[in-house]
Symmetry: C2
Subunit: 404 residues, 2 copies
Amino acid sequence: MKTIEGGVCAAQGFSAHGLHCGIRKNTSKNDLSLIYSEVPCSAAAVYTTNLVKGAPLTVTKQHLQNGIAQAIICNSGNANTCNADGIEIAEKMSGLTAGELSLSPDDIVVASTGVIGLPLPVEPIEAALPALVQGLNPNGSHEAALGIMTTDTIAKEVAVEFTLGGKTCHIGGIAKGSGMIHPDMATMLVFLTSDVAIEPGLLQKALSGDIQSTFNMLSIDGDTSTNDMVVILANGKADNPAISDDSEDFKTFMKALNTVTVELCRMIAGDGEGATKLLECIVSGARDEATAKTVAKSVICSSLLKAAMFGADANWGRVLCAIGYSGADVDVMKIDVSFRSGKGEILVCKNGAGVAFSEETAKEILLEKEIEILVDLNSGDISSTAWGCDLTYDYVRINGDYRT
Amino acid sequence: MKTIEGGVCAAQGFSAHGLHCGIRKNTSKNDLSLIYSEVPCSAAAVYTTNLVKGAPLTVTKQHLQNGIAQAIICNSGNANTCNADGIEIAEKMSGLTAGELSLSPDDIVVASTGVIGLPLPVEPIEAALPALVQGLNPNGSHEAALGIMTTDTIAKEVAVEFTLGGKTCHIGGIAKGSGMIHPDMATMLVFLTSDVAIEPGLLQKALSGDIQSTFNMLSIDGDTSTNDMVVILANGKADNPAISDDSEDFKTFMKALNTVTVELCRMIAGDGEGATKLLECIVSGARDEATAKTVAKSVICSSLLKAAMFGADANWGRVLCAIGYSGADVDVMKIDVSFRSGKGEILVCKNGAGVAFSEETAKEILLEKEIEILVDLNSGDISSTAWGCDLTYDYVRINGDYRT
């Protein structure tokens, strides 16, 4: 397996485009994106568990009931959530897209991201659709990635190439997500494409399984978005032999999918609102997976630890504190904690109590951009990783006046 | 019932004092406090539910097994938590205090607050104890309140006077708490005193009941401290007739207690780390108490809403978002949201969707120092309140480099 360029267009038969249609005030920013497959695809999705759901999610869920889709339309700048006419607008949006692409409306995935509670005007989308469709091209992933960004500072694209039954296959993806991100739910918007031949049920199984250790282990700020969804389309263009459940090919597909989703998690976490650092909490020595995950997520969600990491302060007491209130049944007296980065690794806590360490070395390690918080529970052999970012002045600035 | 001055010394027979003993570097800040009753008291306490517990909590729990105590010793600047010799040091601290006051060690409540994982030297405490005891006086509440502060910017004292069986009674308290505060646990350090005659079991019942709607509904940052405790001492000096379970007198006592604890909650929330605003989320129209509490806490804990309040931004979508992921079973389509302050009240969401409102009026309301977020679930007649504060640049600054 190798990482390649191309994002959502890396898989054969996919094209994409993005442009500014006028929902966002800033005319230099794309606010409408389209991803299209030449042929119908197996489609699978996971959605936010927030009771307050964006209207596009309701419409998409309905469209994906048959496990088939062929295009994804998404706007940024407005979430189309908590609006009286939300469903109507989301249906118009997919209907207009279907018309322009000569598809059935139920082959369209529709998504929106941005401010909640502001009516979404459909006119700018309607006016821009002909140009959006005309602009579809196999190098369009980057423009599409730009079109789904909100407070993101970088476009997020990943793709991998791998082999199934002698055929070259691909999975690629784009993602947006910077704030309102919390584990135990699907996270923000992630659109994945593949040319693998796989039936919809198995594709859903692959996606639902994968997110448990990827997007559900990612937290920026503990706020679960109303508009999160992860969608994968697989169009079969790779012409691989049909994948059956529990086969080696399915494992290979899962591994390729995981490579893409983990990298997108790291990109989303590293580009968290206001973030200056990517944090990874790697818990090992757990007696079971639930314990490992609970501990890793609790550490990565601690506002106090996140602020300490921003200040490059080796305040390991906050790691123990977060483990202690996580709800996981752990033996505090067995816990070891280390910090690691490109500058080295330092043990700061052994058997639940502090050890002498060089504050200068710790500072040097924590001044790096990617920090690993290593927690060994010394009670088993199960591991888990969670991703997050530091808490900074800029998170407060960005969210103190998001709507203006 | 009326609010009076005097804090923990408002109740008859109590004296207090606080001074700088040398645990904190800044010599102008008190770091050691003592509260003393002339006679043994009924004592009750609640503790953090964090698995990582400060050593003083273990020692205090043991001392309060008989429901009796007579003094509280507390240092700030060091939490005496996650230290190999923690229990030994906490026992020394209470033993030395007992010796100086000619009491038994198990009549001493011992508490510590500050940095986790740094050995606590007992020498400065030992050296300062004679002066601390000598300084005990009936106007000493303020010095004691200063001595338990960490990142607090104001000393927190409250007291009320009320009547039981014709006798004048008092409950007073001091509190510290600014960061690492989260509901569903006892919160930070709260020391309450009363001259009411009440047996220990009933006192514990009163305290355990009260905190469910007070300290357990308070969140600054979602991090649950390792050293939280709320302790109440009642010495019987008011000479009121014995209070029995479910009597009118017990209700009066509960009401007085609640007046003190609610005011301390408001003080703690308003003085949250870096806070510029006190936030109160008042949920009404809930079908049951669990729903009302879950919703109120979820709203008050949302980082995104807290940042919006800092920016005086009427971003009500974040209120709905936080209700949606709270886990409470609510009908989103029935929810109304308003913001209220000394400048007025404004409806921003009706039946789960936005309503037109004046952004200028909303801004004017949200620029005040005390903001109420009113959520009506329109599904019953149960209400609940949670307290919190805004998320500011200063929270990040304070916690980016807490240890130095």
